[in-house]
Symmetry: C2
Subunit: 303 residues, 2 copies
């Protein structure tokens, strides 16, 4: 498990380093940003060693030259910690957990976004545009994705129904008008409920879009259009579906934003109007609720 990150690389062979190499390692670990701005001799002076040791340190950690070390550090400065879906182990520091979570999420989003080609996206937008309204369905964590899609599109006046009750949904689909779109969300692409609904929709000649993870799966094959998110590796099992969710959310965002841009002005107007309406409602209910709240009002000073 060799990470390319200088930080981890240094940590992992720290014990094998010589005394003066360790002095240099300290600085590299603790103040990488400063090291980036130093010359080899400056770093030598700062660590109370010699330029020769600095060069030796670079070689020791597997980096061919000092300028290369600086380039590496610079590359990592703002880049998320991406190490092929690392799982999180029990002896991790809070800092490490944070970095890994961020890195995993970033990687999942990035790869997912790269996976979607513009053509597919355009087709998806067309199906959405053509639909009088949309049904979305997902179960478990995919339900969150479905609900998110529905919320976003409803906000711009594109009617989108996320009905978690399969029976009711079947009834709706059965009597849905032409061009109605069904979006099925299933990470595995094998969830029987979603497959069944997709079949039903197809039998009624409705359009269908699937959102699944990457790779061959029944739902992708059977839907008119298949959108796929990155497939995350073993780490998935442990990290409780975290990165697949993130991936599906960024895909939703991409879909939504691309759609909004198709008809920029009118959609923007819708978003604004819906915001305003919500704000108005909030003001009204705040008044109403104040009575209710009075009853349970707690001391403002916290314990």
């Amino acid at each position: 498990m060799k990470s390319k990150h200088v930080h981890y690389r240094v940590k992992s062979i720290y014990d094998d380093l010589t005394r003066s190499e360790r002095k240099i390692a300290q600085l590299v670990l603790n103040e990488p940003e400063k090291v980036i701005k130093m010359t080899a001799s400056e770093l030598a002076k700062a660590s109370d060693t010699s330029p020769a040791s600095v060069i030796r340190f670079c070689k020791s950690i597997g980096i061919p030259s000092f300028p290369d070390l600086k380039l590496q550090l610079s590359a990592e400065k703002d880049a998320p910690v991406v190490q092929q879906y690392t799982d999180i182990s029990p002896d991790e520091s809070p800092e490490d957990i944070k970095n890994k979570l961020l890195g995993n999420a970033y990687q999942a989003m990035k790869e997912t976004i790269q996976l979607v080609d513009d053509e597919t996206l355009t087709s998806a937008i067309q199906l959405i545009s053509a639909a009088p309204f949309i049904y979305v369905y997902g179960i478990g964590s995919s339900y969150l994705v479905a609900e998110n899609i529905a919320q976003k599109f409803n906000r711009i006046g594109k009617v989108c129904i996320c009905q978690p009750d399969v029976h009711l949904l079947i009834a709706s689909l059965t009597s849905a008008p032409e061009r109605t779109l069904f979006i099925g969300v299933s990470n595995s692409g094998e969830t029987s409920e979603v497959l069944a609904l997709n079949d039903l929709a197809k039998s009624r000649h409705l359009h269908t879009i699937s959102i699944t993870q990457f790779g061959a799966n029944s739902l992708s094959k059977q839907a008119d259009l298949s959108l796929q998110t990155v497939k995350s590796k073993e780490a998935e099992l442990r990290s409780a579906a975290t990165s697949s969710l993130t991936a599906q959310f960024i895909l939703t965002d991409l879909l939504f934003h691309t759609y909004v841009l198709k008809n920029y002005d009118e959609n923007m107007a819708s978003i604004r109007t819906s915001r305003e309406s919500v704000d108005q409602y909030k003001q009204q209910t705040t008044k109403k609720n104040s009575k209710f709240r009075q009853k349970y009002k707690t001391n403002k000073n916290k314990a």
Copy 2:
């Protein structure tokens, strides 16, 4: 609106560059990765100019030296395009949309994660551990967050109820046992429903945690413990709450993972067992559903 990115910087003053500087600019724009590995004279040769021109080019785009240019390029290589919550405008290319979405999401997550201090996190974990069970509530897009929290914790056997019906939730809270935890999610921190529920919980001496955006707000003030996500700027209005959701999700993940690590082994066992159960259920229902699916089976060959 000056971006620090070399790419944009070069583009913006491209017209003011001299003939040979432009040749160099081409290479920097088109093959930054290769440039990173070159020396000044190599870049000169590759662009059919001279080292002197390379240096002049660096100065022209406002970078003091050639090694600095390489460092900059390296820093930007893997870093997401982060430009303070840029909004997405109608004339954007698909590529730009993707980069901005990714950049915004990444920045929101990163800043949120940095915002949470370990102490608060530890306290939150303690409240969760101590609770016999948990109620979560959120409305609108915050409902997604609440539901996500519930799903994650339930998966490891920590009973967590996300009840969207306020009336039913009030009933439950009213008769909840000691140490029961109420988690209220509201991006603004001013949603009246959530405030009312927090009041109720407090009046019953239950513990409460709030999840809101950063800054002073009623909910944060009134909850026992306040978790905050980064507050995104104006772009928010247009991008339909995208980055605040992302931020809340990463916060959930952080909370969840930290909690799981507290009792690593037993929690891990729970996750595995719950996965297995779901898999078993899936196998069973697949059989059942096959009959239903037969009825609507469509041609496997897509149009």
